[in-house]
């Protein structure tokens, strides 16, 4: 512990803490723009400047380590004046117009200007050259609003290990973006939207699908259904002032109904279906490896529900493409079933049904327009709204979200289990899969407390577990005594590390879960801002609470899934499943 003084308060700071850490721990707020937790400070923005006794210049709090006996002032007139000047300079080159900006009311620069009491910009200068990049399906970049804080660079390069964005050029003409100021589509980008999640301003955002949804809702000839991913219910509330980790499932359903959707469904159904298909696929691969001794069978099998990860694998891990489960993601399985089975039931054709998804994710916008996602003969999913976009639509419709009564999802595609809920968390797909696979093979429940595989939960980047199969049912006797080894990675940088370990033969598994975003879908690129680890953990808790609150907590118990197999699909991995629910991958570049 290091003793120091901040604004006259005696503060005990942790060893290695920065002035910013110490101030935050002591409840003193210092504004930041470029700071990102767990990352090396870049010192790019200077809005965190503070006065340190004995130092001539003001010091950036995010990059200054606390020293014993340090005396820090965060709110002197000099600090305030300087911060104001810095923000005024940022505003003087900022090419944006708040009332018409998608970040209006959700912008860190705007808030900072307000907090500092800036009422006019005294500097006049050249504006940043505005260039709007709409080259990709999921993201829109608007360089004129970029304040060059470089958070997106750190996230894309250090966290996701993709490296699509870097500073280009020099001096005032520097732009933050793809190589040589080209468009995002010209470089490798997996559309994860983590850059949009950390951008403090309106320089990177999701592609707007709200207009398309409004138009569909207005059109009386269309039957418009909505599916909501499990991660939405644990985060949507934040956009309406609820603390992180508040579950708003019931209010969300009511809001969607008031928006005018003809049916409100749950992606949980097809998450459960994914478990059925993927679980059987895993068992089939294990059979091929252990019994048929087929040398070509690809193990470990990787999950395939995260579209950013799929795109990443297509670019960077073509050697592992045979290892990817052929299952489509729950979003796409839902779309395919909504436009076939469900459409038939209500006497409509695929063309008359519009499928809208609400996803925590930007890459889902990209996934929905992949040419192979047309099993129903048309695009299986028409529009993908992020959690943030849904919140905007609710506000635009004049709905008082906090006053809404709880609603219930519609039958038959509104049925969910706890296993499907936990798809939202890192480690959740694996836990759900093992809940079902273990029971299928042994006839007994997964032998862990409360059905939770604790080694797979939480925010550690790469997690492992092993599960020995004993007293297998006769049909699965080939698995008797086998120790099934699994791993979980979230964040593509961690995924890449795990792939390298497997390639080098340092680790071997049967089944691996990869989620593109840190924390899994609850930390997706389309979730309400700002998502840090504290928020991730709260959302994760909310999801586990949702799971534990359900009577049905295993995918194979979902009555809708059982009905689907009975009436339409036949058996897992059957012909119909193959047609509608599975896909294939090809290397990119």
């Amino acid at each position: 512990m290091i003793a120091c003084k901040i604004n006259g308060l005696s503060v005990e700071a942790q060893d290695g803490a920065t002035v910013l850490d110490a101030a935050r721990a002591a409840g003193v707020r210092i504004p930041t723009l470029c700071f990102l937790e767990h990352q090396l400070p870049t010192g790019a923005c200077r809005v965190c400047l503070v006065e340190v006794q004995g130092a001539k210049a003001l010091m950036p709090a995010c990059a200054t380590p606390v020293a014993a006996g340090m005396v820090v002032t965060t709110n002197s007139p000099r600090v305030r004046r300087t911060r104001r000047q810095i923000v005024e300079l940022l505003l003087s080159e900022h090419d944006g117009n708040c009332p018409t900006c998608a970040r209006n009311g959700d912008c860190e620069l705007q808030r900072l200007a307000e907090d500092l009491g800036i009422s006019r910009v005294t500097f006049e200068g050249t504006k940043t050259r505005a260039h709007s990049d709409t080259s990709t399906p999921a993201l829109v970049r608007d360089n004129g609003k970029c304040i060059k804080c470089r958070r997106c660079v750190t996230v894309c390069n250090t966290v996701q290990n993709v490296g699509a964005l870097f500073p280009q050029g020099r001096g005032f003409a520097t732009t933050i973006g793809p190589a040589f100021e080209r468009d995002l589509a010209d470089v490798v980008c997996v559309q994860c939207g983590q850059c949009a999640a950390v951008c403090p301003v309106g320089a990177i955002q999701e592609t707007n699908h709200m207009d398309g949804v409004w138009a569909a809702l207005e059109d009386p000839t269309r039957h418009v259904v909505v599916q909501t991913a499990p991660a939405i219910r644990a985060a949507l509330g934040e956009a309406f002032g609820y603390p992180a980790g508040t579950r708003v499932t019931g209010k969300m359903v009511t809001a969607l109904r008031q928006l005018g959707f003809d049916a409100v469904f749950d992606t949980d159904v097809t998450a459960d279906l994914t478990i059925m298909e993927e679980g059987h696929e895993l068992l089939k691969r294990l059979h091929s490896a252990l019994v048929d001794k087929d040398p070509k069978v690809a193990l470990p099998m990787f999950t395939s529900c995260s579209p950013g990860w799929i795109k990443f694998a297509e670019y960077y891990a073509p050697d592992f493409l045979p290892n990817l489960s052929t299952c489509k993601s729950p979003q796409q399985m839902f779309g395919a079933l909504a436009k076939t089975w469900y459409a038939q039931r209500i006497g409509k054709s695929a063309k008359e049904v519009t499928v809208v998804s609400v996803m925590p994710c930007t890459a889902k916008k990209f996934e929905a327009q992949r040419p192979e996602m047309t099993a129903s003969g048309v695009a299986d999913v028409d529009y993908v709204l992020t959690t943030r976009e849904l919140a905007k639509m609710i506000k635009a419709h004049g709905i008082e979200f906090r006053d809404l009564p709880d609603g219930k999802m519609d039958d038959p595609l509104g049925m969910s289990t706890g296993a499907a809920d936990i798809f939202a968390n890192t480690g959740g797909v694996m836990e759900a899969a093992l809940r079902t696979a273990y029971e299928l093979v042994t006839g007994r429940e997964l032998p862990v407390k409360n059905l939770h595989l604790t080694p797979l939960a939480g925010l550690t980047g790469i997690k492992e577990a092993a599960l020995k199969i004993e007293q297998a049912l006769p049909a699965w006797s080939f698995l008797e005594g086998v120790t099934v080894k699994v791993a979980v990675a979230h964040g593509l940088g961690n995924a890449r590390q795990l792939l390298d370990r497997i390639r080098r033969g340092e680790a071997s598994y049967h089944f691996v879960e990869v989620m593109t975003c840190p924390g899994g879908c609850i930390g997706g690129g389309g979730q309400p801002r700002f998502t840090d680890d504290a928020v991730r953990l709260k959302r994760i808790q909310a999801i586990y609470a949702e799971d534990e609150g359900k009577t049905l907590r295993k995918s194979h118990e979902n009555p809708a899934v059982q009905q689907l197999y009975r009436e339409f699909l036949g058996a897992p991995l059957g012909h119909k499943s193959h047609e509608l629910l599975h896909t294939h991958y090809k290397p990119s570049l």
Partner: protein, 172 residues
């Protein structure tokens, strides 16, 4: 160090013919084998590559990025930061037109237009035969003699726009 370091330009092969792109790529491969993934090695390798090709073609930058386990955007960030690097081929001769005040009022602009027309390129571009690149400058210190242009290190004074063709012929 590879002896390609001493190679200052897109030089000719042993038989006197300009080496093909594929041959140059092979040279780059040799350089990369030597410098692959060395920390701090990126900028020296980019310099060597520019010496080999005369500029930095995209294919070379992509190859270098891969060898250093960096993304193309990161390498581009480095290349675009230093004005020393060029991503467009430079011609064998650099024609610079002075547009300083004195030369400008004495007809520098007309000379530039004549050169553009004659060469069929804009400022910052190179002719298809890679003979000339065109650039503008601000004062070469010969204001009394304007308009002035420089071809490589040779200064041409009192240039007449009608006669830029002859002048260019002096530089093969």
């Amino acid at each position: 160090m590879a002896d390609s370091l001493t190679c200052e330009c897109a030089c000719k092969g042993a038989d006197g013919a300009a080496p093909s792109e594929a041959e140059l790529m092979k040279r780059l491969d040799e350089v990369l084998d030597e410098h692959r993934a060395q920390p701090g090695g990126l900028i020296p390798v980019l310099q060597i590559a520019q010496a080999i090709f005369g500029y930095l073609p995209e294919s070379a930058m992509r190859k270098i990025a891969e060898a250093f386990h960096k993304s193309f955007s990161e390498v581009a960030g480095v290349v675009s930061f230093y004005s020393f690097f060029s991503t467009v081929p430079r011609g064998r001769h650099l024609v610079r037109v002075c547009l300083g005040t004195a030369c400008y009022v004495r007809g520098g602009r007309e000379v530039l237009d004549a050169l553009k027309k004659r060469l069929g390129i804009d400022v910052g571009q190179t002719t298809a035969d890679r003979r000339f690149s065109l650039a503008v400058g601000r004062c070469f210190g010969a204001c009394g003699m304007g308009p002035v242009i420089m071809v490589d290190d040779t200064v041409h004074q009192r240039v007449k726009s009608a006669r830029v063709g002859e002048l260019l012929e002096e530089h093969s």
